[in-house]
Amino acid sequence: MDVLYFAWVRERIGIPREAVETKASTVMDLVDELRGREERYAAAFADISALRVAVDQQLTDFDTPLAGAREVAFFPPMTGG
């Protein structure tokens, strides 16, 4: 599964994307896995109320199941326009 990071999430983790081998069943499970990896992930995911998530390029919630998902992206609230 491809995991993508944008804006300050990308900066905090240090990479824009990576391939992740995971059996996480929901976005939240994936977040918990990533948090356990290294301090930079724990820092990026410290407060998920400050984060948004898209699964296969659709904005969604953290309790979304990951079955069949190819791409998960984490980023702060959008500020376009």
Binding site: A54, Q57, M78, T79, G80, G81
Partner: protein
């Protein structure tokens, strides 16, 4: 309906004129343009990051909703990414409808959703460094109107 996401500048006058040209079925055309504003005289530039692929999809979905909800004849969204200087145009939307109330509402809807639901992130570059722009509660609150 046309969605454009690009790093180069767009020609607002030409886009607005082409969009409004010969709209004999519409009667009402509204445009909105967002410009890099020098908030306190300290802004050097703006950098806009986006999520290629998802950006176009999200904008198409938002514009499609506006089209059907207000029976628009047409809608246009152009949004830049990359580095923009003060005074440059960040984006524009345009709507064509039979009645002005619909054209105005649809343009405001497009803007409210684009602000909070399309994957763009702005970073302000000042002499003191770069800082990500924080989402404003009032932008999220604006969605409750629709």
């Amino acid at each position: 309906m046309r969605i454009v996401v690009q790093d180069i500048p767009f020609d607002f006058g030409a886009e607005a004129a082409a969009f409004a040209e010969g709209r004999a079925e519409s009667g009402a055309v509204v445009t909105f343009t967002g410009i890099v504003r020098d908030v306190d005289g300290g802004l050097k530039a703006m950098e806009i990051e986006h999520y290629p692929g998802m950006t176009e999809g999200a904008l198409s979905e938002i514009a499609g909703q506006a089209m059907s909800r207000w029976s628009l004849e047409d809608a246009l969204v152009i949004h830049r990414h990359g580095r923009l200087e003060v005074g440059e145009m960040i984006m524009m939307v345009a709507t064509a409808a039979r009645h002005r109330k619909h054209a105005f509402e649809a343009a405001e809807f497009l803007m409210d959703y684009l602000k909070s639901r399309a994957p763009f992130w702005k970073r302000e570059i000042t002499k003191d460094g770069a800082e990500w722009v924080a989402a404003r509660d009032e932008d999220e609150d604006a969605l409750t109107r629709w």
